[in-house]
Amino acid sequence: MAEVDEANKPLFAGLSDVSISEDIPVEGDIAVPVTSRGADDEFSTLDEPVKDTILRDLKAVGNKFVHVMYPKKSSALLRDWDLWGPLLLCVTLALLLQGGSADSKEDGGPQFAEVFVIIWFGSVIITLNSKLLGGTISFFQSLCVLGYCILPLTVAMLVCRLVLLLVSSGTASFVVRLIIVTASFGWATFASTAFLADSQPVNRKALVVYPVFLFYFVIGWMILTFSPSP
């Protein structure tokens, strides 16, 4: 071994100057920086009770509902997007649209799967449309905004069902429902435009807003034409 060392010494002699040996003290600080304490905290959310986890998500969803009901230019929906809210709203709306009257199986209102497909497929197509026209919003942010802005229409659906329970279907109830659905459709379109409008190029805003208008119009029509089984 000594011969090998001696043979290696002249070859690697220069390296001993640069190699770190135990004599040379190591400079610098390899302590973990403060922000990774946050990472430690996040990892520790595994230990928190389930109730806290669920409540945190529910609070985030509720916070976004408030932003939709009072739309002003805030980036809360865009920055912390999530898809729980749209899923909740979509399932609620599809369940409420069930139980429509049908003389034959075909002539009834939309089935659960049809509502689901229209809402999600429609949102995806509108998002693709806005991205193809040069929008700067990301895919999931746009899905999040479009889904959350269904909230006024879901509220309108609840109110319409109440109206249909209290008043048997006639012209008066139809007019009341028409007013409610029109107001909520206008609110939904206005709210989503308030969030989405900034990310579009200026001379194409109308091209992006029109599909959103059509989307909420179709959902509004499904709500308005809901007639309960006799």
Binding site: G100, S101, A102, D103, E106, D107, G108, G109, P110, Q111, E114, N129, K131, L132, L133, G134, N203, R204, K205, A206, L207, Y210, P211, L214, F217, V218, W221, M222, T225, F226, S227, P230
Partner: protein, 299 residues
Amino acid sequence: MASPDDLKFTEFDEAADLLSADPGASTLSVSAAGGTTAAAQDIKVDLSEDEENQEENAGLLGGEKQTSGFWTFEYYQSFFDVDTMQVLDRIKGSMMPLPGRNFIRHHIRNNPDLYGPFWICVTLVFSVAISGNLSSFLSQQGDPRYHYRPQFHKVTIAAVVVFLYAWLVPLGVWGFLTWRKGSEHQTSGYSFLETVCVYGYSLFVFIPTSVLWSIPFQWVQWTLILIAMVISGSVLVLTFWPVVRDDTKMTAFAIVASIVVLHTLLAIGCKLYFFETAALDVKPTPTPTLNASVAKVTG
């Protein structure tokens, strides 16, 4: 032509105007103006700078549409390169066909888009389904037995019909025209996207027509069909006639006739399937008793 500086400036302006009007033009012709060789050299330097910029721009803006591969997002973005005013202008052009104006040459001008055809088809699907529902409700207003049904399945049927028409028929027309062009019966043709574009925009006039079809009077509905067919059909005929007229008379007339016939079939089919007229208003009561007596006889 006072000093070389002035000359250079005007040349630059003209060249810039020419380039902006037609980015595909080559810019090698320097001999347009006279002047000293020094001025010409200055002009050459300017034009070559322009040429570099123009090549850059051609790459970015897509002098041809297939600059990126079909798997990239930018390839599809090139089909949506329209502004609001351009879309509105194209829609207006499809509503007012004038004999001199070829829709493709005048309005589309080498920038076919997919925004118009796609969203016009979607709007047409929903307008036909919703108006059809409304017309069946209005036509049976007086009948107390009538219970309102949303008939949501009609949306699916309308969607299938409209989208098949708007994509398969242009495919067939384009394929046939390209084959005839390949066998040297015609001189020019249109690309597939331009054909889809003209068919999509020609369907726009059916949207207000379908809304008005919910008025449950026969004569109103047939008048509306006539007007819509004239407008929409003439857009198509004016677009395709210049291309096929070089062909043999038989083929030319056959192509134009089949385009018009298919369009008519779509219009009449939609009207008959989705919209009910107030034919029952004339004799409301005998029909139920007739059905009842038939049921008694057969039952």
